[in-house]
Symmetry: C2
Subunit: 508 residues, 2 copies
Amino acid sequence: MATSSEYKEFLERVRELSTLEQVGSLLDWDQQTYMPPGAFPQRGQQGALVAGIMHERLTSDRMGRLIRALQRQPLSPDGEVIVREVARKWRKASCVPGPLVREITKTASLGFEAWQRARKADDYKSFEPYLARMIGLKARVAEHVGYDNRPYDALLDDYEPGTRARDVEALFKRLIAKLVPVVKRVLDAPVPENAVPPGTYPLEAQREFMTTLATGMGYDLSHGRIDLSAHPFTIGAARDVRITFRHKEDNPIYAIFPIIHEAGHALYEQGFQERYFGTPLAEAVSMGLHESQSRLWENVVGRSLPFWTYYYPKMQRAFPRFRKVPLEAWHREINRVSRNFIRVDADELTYNLHIALRFEAEAAIFDGKLKTREIPEFWNERFEKYLGLEVPDNASGCLQDVHWSTGNFGYFPSYTIGNLYAAQLWDAAQRQVPGLEDRIAAGDLGAFLGWLRQNVHRHGKRYDAAELMKRVTGSPISEDFFIRYVSEKYGRLYGIKIKTAPKIAVRR
Amino acid sequence: MATSSEYKEFLERVRELSTLEQVGSLLDWDQQTYMPPGAFPQRGQQGALVAGIMHERLTSDRMGRLIRALQRQPLSPDGEVIVREVARKWRKASCVPGPLVREITKTASLGFEAWQRARKADDYKSFEPYLARMIGLKARVAEHVGYDNRPYDALLDDYEPGTRARDVEALFKRLIAKLVPVVKRVLDAPVPENAVPPGTYPLEAQREFMTTLATGMGYDLSHGRIDLSAHPFTIGAARDVRITFRHKEDNPIYAIFPIIHEAGHALYEQGFQERYFGTPLAEAVSMGLHESQSRLWENVVGRSLPFWTYYYPKMQRAFPRFRKVPLEAWHREINRVSRNFIRVDADELTYNLHIALRFEAEAAIFDGKLKTREIPEFWNERFEKYLGLEVPDNASGCLQDVHWSTGNFGYFPSYTIGNLYAAQLWDAAQRQVPGLEDRIAAGDLGAFLGWLRQNVHRHGKRYDAAELMKRVTGSPISEDFFIRYVSEKYGRLYGIKIKTAPKIAVRR
């Protein structure tokens, strides 16, 4: 079919929106890496102006007319995906009234400050009014956006398009039931000793080794770069995808796993097809799928024995202090499991328990079953139930995360969804890539990256997450892949026997 | 008088344009410092989109209506300046038709490539059609913009608002007549020996010393930063003004004078008043005045004995090889005068002769008196007349500069105008700041910077260049300050007697 002039204009506008988004990303990147401290106020103005122009253009009358016209025209398969995805974004951006958006932005800014003070002072009461206000505003957003069943669905949709609270609930329930006994079994085993030799690991040596790791994974420095920042992140799109790492002088672990994690995100972005740049066909399916890529690399590959069989000798050359630490001790070191109050410090096993309780709280809040004043009690009860620890204060409990203060309800589940996708993709890759672990042990990460590119990356948003997972792995999303992966891995590592989940039948 | 709602809206729009300009500057800065090479194509799109949005907003109907309404309203003195200057920009942006602007952009891009090839191959003929085409386009711009007398005035106005070719012509004629004999006298004296000790000057030591110099001048790192780039530049505005330096491992001079030059530009930008940020009251008067600031610091201060009396011991600590080089040898080294075909390698004395011939060529071109095919001959004749050297090829002659290939006619005179302003401002500062040179020799550059801030920087575009110079120095612009400055300086340096211009009578 012929490409209509409306489609051409639409596509040009879509690509311009993407270009503006890239500009916004550079403002963010600079702010977190090189921006002089005194430039803070004007950077805020710059970011807000670019975001405002993007919103104006996305919700313009002309864009609306074009989308409606194209929805009635026959389109190529690519065109269908692009129109579908842009229409989704357009609808969401158009249906929330401007004053509500601005009120959320203002409340987020005040809420963020209030949260920082409250966490420092361990004073939940002082934060509660801001949290309550934000919940009220987001509930109004949900009403504007609309939902089939529960308001929380509308919020979840920002991060996991098309996913319903009901399904996540069922998934988490099954996961928790199977995971809690595994965690308990592992936590009862003796904890491995600290294997990191004390001393100084200079920044430049760390930077060099992080570059070795990222480029070894396939990260392309001609379309990216590696810098330092307080919190590691991946940013950018198309031909310019940048990552950062953090630096602690006394332990390179604080740089290593974040850089593998961020390079995993970046490989996804660098794996899109050039001809689709600037369109949803060169965008991540969902937050969960993005997270699956970072966690596959960070945890499943990056904390595995085959990976370090190849990279540990390089690391020992980079940081000679490690010459006296055997590979096996290092492997145990980077897979230590422990009870921890703080999510961001948690290992891959307990991490999902942290997430589960946050999801349960969010769902209960937007179902109207959990009042803000009841959150600390809810939190602490669940925490003790899942992790067997009594939370000593709210700073180590429900005040630890920034997300709620800025209104990011629906974000947390993506972390665990990403972990589950990662284990499920890994299972498929093991079956489909001959000699996968041997190749990794020989330093050949290209076979695995090639598989990811072919099966996941190159599709962009062509399929939603459920469909993509089924196509790639032959199975709908299931917690069993993760349970089996951790049972086997930690069973071996800790020399204990964990009853693993039954082998999952997959088509293919 | 009350501030009208139109004025408020106008000011908000003006500040948004400035914010967009800052965004564009960050794109440029990143491109020249840290951008991955493969990001080049999309950076072009980003820059073009931001520039397009700026143009759209500046020339919008609403902006036009606001400007016309405000031109009929009584305004505060500040408001008058802001409306006057934005109206000037608006008029210029509005009166050139879009297709002509786009044709110039395209021709500039093609012309730039053609120029690069032509310079490499020393093949003027291959570049001539592009040059002719660009001249034709800029002549059409001049017709659209309008002029009193000569089309070239309209182009000059982009860089030196309100300046007429006639006046520049007269100024350059007087300057040349007085400068050529001085140059000849100096060039006949024996050239000082090379004083830079051979060896390696590592990047980190150079970076540290460049930071010492720039911050010693008063450059504020909390609102700026110093990076490496192939060509040094200053970029940014308001609370974020960044500079760069270049690095040659075997000679720190290649970093030192560019960093002093760029810090001079940056001090001007950092000297505007915060309450005017985002308006013409926090913008440079003209290209020439901007250049006066960089050249005052680079040449008049930065190549002076008092400056190095304080900084040379620091430099000897930074680069210990210089311990065996006496201060006087270093002072002669950094003030070497020589015949040189290339403008950017020229010293402060001969530099203006390079500029004079370019200005004469430009003026003749737009007066219709010089055809493109005659440019090489014109160039070579003038060069021999002013500098006493026969130009061996066009690559060392009329093909050496990028400016004409991209249509920047009217830019060159600013360099020399900047040199003349610099000498004239220095003369005033010496009279007005007690013990100026002693203070500089003691490392106190604050007295001089304070004088510049008070007399030049804080005014932004309140006065035009002619009025500002008269207010600050008590005299209209004159070449005599420069002639006297170089005659005294080089007479002393080379131990020769140069007949200096008579003392200039100034009011005050």
